[in-house]
């Protein structure tokens, strides 16, 4: 088989908005459809068939069992475009790109759309376990007394919905509480975290001002820019925020250096290189390779969000590269301290040093927000464009941590 290369030719996302904000009434499907239609319009694909659209969401209603296919049917794409839902927590978007790229490399298709969506506003509300069991008993009951018995088991308190929470089932800790352990363990200071958050806002703001996102974002519901972005924030303003995770002296994590719950969708257009050139599409960057890893966080021996530190050395070795061979690092900012602990761990494990001047130079999740499954698409599209602007041979490393102690990393090259 002749060698085939998967390349990123473009992308599109909605602006990202804090949960409960302007997208509060939009469903995950609405958001994904909007991102899809923007991409279709940008590349003039209306009525055309794409090899496959692959995307996913972390917070998912049961009605969204076929989320991506439904979004395709609601979009301007040809209804002959197949779709697939995929999910790997916050790694979803990047994993979708890897999935699409691999199929393209294998010759199973020439062009695909990959990414994800999440709406923390549209999170499913769950009924209590007691109510669920009582309802099941009620449906099984044949006689009136049995039905009344079943109903009588329901207490008023059971009727309140269980609010959604992002909690690790095996530790019972929320993401922030888990990360607070990592922050303390690696000795990440409040100041370091605030500095990283400040850089994220400044970089993202500068990129918006420079028009970097003009061909990466399509406005939605009258929102034209990422709404969490505070380009004019300062070190002082960030230092004033009270801590929200961790306890006492060790509490350093604030709303300013942790990502907010966010609504948004992001997609990238991936194609086989020759196919892309044939259509005149810009070849922004090749999807070179990717690696997944998982950490033993349940025992407490390892950190929930540092699985990428296991994946990166494997990926580097397989490709004969070191951290010095990269022009850009896109490390997802779940929390400022996640990125900082990742950098420390890479150094300590002898993998190497990440040049901070190459890190998240167009901002990342702290400023843009983090609609879980959408983050991968946001990062891949932006990085691919940055590499294209930098020129042939330039390389970027993407690192995304995910719930369940997982991590996805990938190399892109212009």
């Amino acid at each position: 088989m002749t060698s085939r290369t998967a390349v990123v030719v473009g992308g599109n996302r909605t602006p990202f908005v804090k949960a409960g904000g302007r997208y509060a009434d939009a469903s995950a499907q609405d958001l994904l459809t909007a991102a899809l239609d923007g991409l279709v319009a940008r590349f003039g694909l209306a009525g055309q068939e794409v090899g496959e659209v692959v995307a996913g969401a972390v917070l998912k209603h049961t009605r969204d069992f076929n989320l991506t296919r439904e979004a395709v049917l609601g979009s301007a794409l040809s209804p002959h475009t197949p779709a697939c839902d995929l999910q790997q927590a916050c790694g979803t978007g990047l994993e979708a790109v890897v999935y699409a790229s691999n199929k393209i490399r294998l010759g199973q298709m020439d062009v695909a759309i990959a990414g994800g969506v999440d709406s923390a506003s549209d999170a499913p509300l769950v009924v209590t376990e007691r109510l669920r069991k009582a309802m099941l008993a009620l449906s099984r009951a044949r006689s009136l007394p049995d039905k009344l018995t079943a109903l009588a088991r329901i207490r008023p308190a059971d009727l309140a919905p269980v609010p959604p929470a992002v909690v690790e089932p095996r530790t019972g800790l929320s993401m922030g509480e888990s990360q607070a352990l990592t922050t303390a363990k690696w000795g990440i200071t409040r100041e370091e975290q605030d500095d990283l958050a400040l850089a994220s806002h400044r970089n993202l703001g500068a990129a918006w001002d420079a028009g970097f996102f003009d061909d990466l974002v399509t406005p939605y519901l009258k929102v034209a820019r990422d709404s969490i972005l505070r380009a004019d924030t300062s070190k002082e303003a960030l230092a004033k925020l009270r801590t929200v995770f961790g306890k006492g002296e060790a509490a350093t994590m604030t709303a300013g250096n942790s990502t907010a719950l966010t609504d948004g969708a992001a997609l990238v257009l991936v194609a086989e290189e020759e196919y892309a050139r044939g259509r005149g599409w810009p070849v922004w960057a090749k999807v070179v390779d990717a690696q997944v890893a998982a950490s033993d966080y349940v025992t407490g021996r390892e950190d929930l969000l540092l699985a990428p530190t296991r994946a990166i050395p494997v990926l580097l070795e397989r490709n004969g590269l070191t951290l010095d061979d990269f022009d850009f690092f896109e490390f997802h900012e779940a929390f400022a301290s996640t990125v900082l602990a990742t950098l420390k761990a890479l150094e300590q494990n002898g993998v190497g040093t990440v040049d901070r001047s190459k890190l998240n130079v167009k901002g990342s999740s702290l400023a843009a927000g983090h609609p879980f499954a959408a983050t991968g698409g946001r990062i891949v599209a932006s990085l691919a464009k940055m590499l294209h602007e930098r020129g042939p041979g330039s390389r970027g490393l993407v690192s995304i941590c995910a719930a369940g102690g997982q991590g996805v990393v990938a190399i892109l090259e212009a």
Partner: protein, 462 residues
């Protein structure tokens, strides 16, 4: 909608309005639709172009009834009435291209009098005359202008949505040069164009008239996210164009839905950025193929920043001129001087949007009127500059058009604007779009350097 407007829309309100002389305006024939009644041709001495042009369009011309003393009859009150058509004509074409003397103008009166009260709804009066620049002698030049006086007055006297327009043909004009104009005037596409006169000459390259003139052609439309721009995108797409819809990044969602609806593509671009022309070309090459070229650029994007001059600062002044005029010139300049993938085709069309505000001035709009009058000046000057290339440059000047923008005008004022033209109503965005599409038609190569008002013969600046 305010209270008055709601009342006005009720049956009782309509009744009162009718009593007050505000009759329901006629419903105009629109689209690629010919009149239902016969097309009558009145060929005056020395004419012939009209007949040949109609023949080329496959339209069989009917014989005119002429208002001669011997053909008149008396009505019940004993008054003279002109001869009456047995079926109401759909249109009359008066070929006055051979008219040079004052006495010959009688031929026009004679042909028109019988149709003035018998044209069908949305009927057409189309007068052809030879341009004053191409006739010899003072009398002939004066007569050419006199024909326009007839045209403008007929437009005001016609009823039922009928229009009158005059085409001044230049020396050497062939039926193939005139056919697209004749077709546009006869069809519903020219619904809101009345009382106008413009010039048609010889095309550098001739193309035949078809119903899908833009098949396989790329047309760039700026300001395409909504209103008139969206209508332009739809109209060009209907006629076969691959539309590149351009608007500012902040309007990207509306833009994407227009682009997807018409099967074109969206380009989020601030047209005032210095590299706007280059980015249009890049987009065309990227999305529509390396070998694609732009057939037409429709400079529709525009803004208003209204203030009385007494209150107008330099920012409001400059932004309007930059978006409405300077940006258009920079884009043209790039496209006309760069032979790049996705750039302007060798043969091409450039059209802009002027305004009746530019023609006549409008209170509170010095900046806007300057920019729009500037667009007209640009069209006239570019025609000279591009004389050696098969590229035409034209503009339309819309009057009162029903858009989101004009819907914000207070009701009474809006109703006055609507009714202060010969068709007694506001135009629709599609009316502007149709006129632009006619100017961009490959078969309209002989129409160059013209500014056509789409205003229903508005009283303002007429």
């Amino acid at each position: 909608m305010d209270v008055l407007e709601k009342l006005y829309a009720t049956p009782a309100g309509k009744f009162v309005a009718r009593k007050a002389g505000l009759a329901d305006p006629p419903r105009l024939r629109r689209g690629r639709v010919l009149p239902t009644g016969p097309v009558v041709l009145a060929e005056l001495d020395g004419g012939g172009l009209g007949r040949a042009t109609l023949a080329q369009l496959g339209i069989e011309a009917a014989e005119p009834l002429l208002d001669l003393p011997e053909s008149r009859t008396k009505d019940e009150k004993g008054r003279d009435v002109p001869p009456r058509y047995s079926t109401r004509p759909g249109a009359i074409v008066v070929d006055a291209t051979g008219v040079r003397e004052i006495t010959q103008l009688e031929g026009i009166r004679r042909a028109l009098r019988p149709v003035m009260r018998s044209l069908e709804e949305s009927g057409r009066v189309i007068v052809l005359a030879t341009d004053a620049a191409d006739v010899e002698g003072l009398e002939a030049k004066a007569v050419a202008q006199a024909v326009d006086g007839v045209n403008r007055t007929v437009g005001k006297e016609l009823r039922g949505g009928a229009t009158a327009n005059l085409v001044f043909v230049r020396r050497g004009t062939e039926p193939a040069d005139l056919a697209s104009t004749m077709s546009f005037l006869l069809e519903g596409r020219s619904a809101f164009v009345s009382g106008q006169a413009w010039r048609v000459g010889t095309a550098e390259r001739r193309h035949s008239v078809t119903a899908r003139p833009f098949d396989g052609r790329v047309v760039v439309v700026t300001g395409a996210a909504r209103g008139i721009g969206a209508a332009i995108a739809r109209t060009f797409a209907r006629d076969g164009a691959t539309v590149v819809a351009v608007d500012i990044p902040a309007s990207g969602d509306a833009l994407a839905s227009v682009a997807n609806e018409v099967g074109g593509s969206a380009l989020q671009l601030d047209i005032t950025s210095g590299d706007a022309g280059a980015r249009m070309a890049e987009h065309v090459a990227r999305v529509h193929g390396e070998s694609s070229r732009i057939w037409a650029v429709v400079h529709n994007a525009g803004i208003t920043r209204d203030k009385l001059l007494a209150n107008l600062d330099e920012k409001r002044w400059a932004s309007v001129l930059d978006v409405n005029l300077a940006a258009e010139m920079r884009i043209n300049d790039y496209l006309l001087t760069h032979d790049v993938p996705g750039g302007l085709a060798e043969e091409a069309r450039i059209v802009g949007i002027a305004s009746t505000s530019g023609v006549a001035g409008n209170k509170g709009q010095t900046n806007y009127a300057a920019s729009k009058a500037g667009v007209m000046g640009l069209v006239w000057a570019m025609r000279e500059e591009l004389a050696a290339r098969p590229i035409t440059v034209n503009a339309v000047a819309p009057g009162f058009i029903e858009t989101e923008m004009t819907a914000a005008i207070p009701f009474v004022q809006r109703e006055i604007f609507r009714r202060s033209n010969s068709l007694n109503q506001g135009g629709r965005p599609v009316d502007v779009a149709e006129t632009l599409a006619y100017l961009c038609d490959p078969a309209s190569g002989g129409v160059n350097g013209q500014v056509i008002r789409v205003c229903g013969q508005n009283l303002v600046g007429a």
